[in-house]
């Protein structure tokens, strides 16, 4: 089953990437590696790659880094049990929402005329900072990335929280007897104890960053002037908007290669760390 539904399409996709073909034309023309050459000559490819990388770096810092900080705080002893449950739910809730719905919500928040963000800036006397967040090529990609951090930090936090709960409590008791502060406990017990989960979360986040599509499609469709294109929308645009199915397949092969390599590097890095 896996062979037919997963590996065969991957091989087939590579085969299609060697052709010039459209979805509705009965003929296809063999072009060898020309589609790959075209990708590397296309400026939009480099914009997409840069945006995916930016998304991955910010997501690892915010979702994994900040998520870990939240998890450590919420598992600490300085917050009451009821508050812990409350905040866990509050942070986790956005990840349950559909990306499309969240995208539309943020689309309105960022609206330059009626949006909440510009309204707040005006209210607190920072009216000069008002801009068309999704229409300005300097801010658009960051506006989309910010939405994703809002949505998924809670999800990563919960994964890390579960890992923290599995650390034997005796380790913390021993540290307390030795007079360790909360900071020292976090650095010397919690973080090493959830190392595997941190690696898993980082892999999930990085792979997610290179598979990014819906957020961009809903909020900017790659605009203004391609400033928010990512590899997913770049591929979609080539295949479905411009009928370049072979070109689209070649982009898909590159996305596959990048995510595959990124996972290998991270897993190898994690194994080395364990050894």
């Amino acid at each position: 089953m896996i062979l037919v539904f997963v590996y065969l399409p991957i091989v087939q996709n590579f085969y299609f990437s060697l052709f010039k073909m459209s979805s509705y034309s009965p003929t296809k023309q063999f072009v060898g590696l020309a589609n790959y050459r075209m990708i590397f000559e296309d400026d939009v490819f480099y914009i997409s790659l840069k945006n995916n990388t930016l998304y991955a770096v910010i997501s690892v810092i915010c979702q994994v880094g900040f998520g870990m900080l939240l998890a450590i705080i919420l598992e600490g002893s300085f917050i009451g049990r009821k508050l812990k449950v409350f905040f866990r739910n509050v942070y986790f809730m956005p990840s349950l929402l559909s990306v499309t719905a969240v995208g539309l919500m943020f689309y309105f928040i960022y609206n330059p005329n009626i949006g909440l963000l510009n309204g707040i800036l005006e209210l607190i006397g920072l009216g000069d900072l008002k801009t068309a967040w999704l229409g300005n090529p300097k801010t658009a990609i960051y506006a989309v990335i910010a939405m994703s951090q809002w949505q998924y930090t809670g999800y990563i936090m919960v994964l890390l929280l579960v890992a923290i709960q599995k650390i034997p409590h005796e380790q913390y008791e021993a540290a307390e007897i030795d007079g360790a502060s909360s900071f020292n406990k976090a650095i010397h017990i919690t973080i090493p104890g959830i190392r595997d989960m941190i690696v898993v979360c980082t892999v999930i986040t990085v792979i997610g960053a290179f598979k990014l599509f819906t957020e961009i499609y809903v909020m900017t469709q790659g605009g203004p002037y391609n400033s928010t294109q990512v590899l997913g929308t770049f591929m979609y645009r080539a295949a479905f908007a411009y009928d370049e199915m072979g070109y689209g397949s070649a982009i898909a092969v590159i996305i596959f290669a990048i995510t595959f390599l990124a996972s290998l590097v991270q897993i190898r890095f994690a194994y080395k760390g364990n050894n």
Binding site: S22, S23, Y24, S25, P26, N111, P112, N113, A132, W133, L134, G135, N136, P137, Q221, G223, P224, Y225, N226, R237, F240, A241, Y242, D243
Partner: protein, 419 residues
Amino acid sequence: MRRGLLILIVFATLISTFLVAEQVELKFLHRWPDPINQPFLENVVKDFEALNPDIKVNIQAISNDPFKEKIKIVLGTSEAPDVFFTWPGEFTNRFIRAGRIMDITDALVETGWIDDFVYSQLEPFMYEGRFYGTPYRIDAKVFMYNRLLFEKAGVDFVPETWEEFLVACEKLKKAGITPIAFGNEQPWAISHYIGTLNQKSVPEDVWLKDLDPAKGTWDHPGYVEALKMFTQLIPYFSQFPNAIKHAEARANFFAGGSAMMYVEIVEIPYVYRDAPVEFQENWGMFVFPNTGGPGNQNYLTGYPEGFVISADTKYPEQSLRFLKYLTGREVGRREYAEVGYLNGIKNLFDEDEVDPGTWDAVQLVMKAEAMANWLDSSLHARIWDVYSVQLQMLVDGVTTPEKVMQEVRKAADRVRAEF
């Protein structure tokens, strides 16, 4: 008696089985899944089925942008719709070249069906001398304006020339009124401006040659001139055009937020549906001003939209019957009454049967010497890809008309090399 009844039942069963077996199912794909058009087309289909019991029509609707993507995919499969929506021009021509659309010339000419249509609205469905579709709604681009805001700014004329248009914009701006509402988040909006300016700024033979992806070189200086004229309008547009949707800009215009907007005549129903009464009673329209360029100044930008039949349909006769009904007189009259659109049938209404706005718009279409197709659907997809990005940059002032055309020429060269 009982035996007779039995024979009758067996006979009736056989007849009904025969009839059911004869009923064919047509797949019908359109692009209006909204609460006004969708129920209308469902009722049209129901009425057609009642008149044609041998045909069942299965409807599928996909909204504008996803439609453009989906149609390319389904036409390459065995699930291609029998009758489907399309925009005439290059959008349709590529499917014709790939043999995906049925030639209906004989059906149109031999039965006299062709005489039902206003020829200028049918002609866009012609490719290399053959007809491939029929118009479902006619469309054209005009400037809609708010008479109250014109009066407030002391603009006591309707602009007919480019110079007058700029004077009106300046007076409005000085009076603290945003002259033109413009929402260009989806760059088809700017394509309507540039398409019109290109047509008016470039000699007709050159312009038509450049629209052909196999021949277009885009090196006439008129294209740069067209963009320079467009840049003269940028100071008069509403704020953040690249971040605003056309519909949002229109809502702001209806609410009195700006004085003019370049709209399609199919948007007139929105005036009566969505605009405040004050606007409904104080709006007017005028055609794009005469630019004095070498292109024909009596053209109107806009093209009809319509339906075609898949070349792979198993039921060409039934599909033709449905197409004839769908784009015919009876549906045309209901179409105006229920959704506000006009189809391409001749003498569909008298003046007293339609609202004055629609009547005026139709007269403008009839007076035009010819229609100029929308720029985005008349261009090869890869040329439009580059053009649209460059035009958005031009709106933001981060490129120049010369650079825009340099990029367009490069894209056109690449496309031309493939033909």
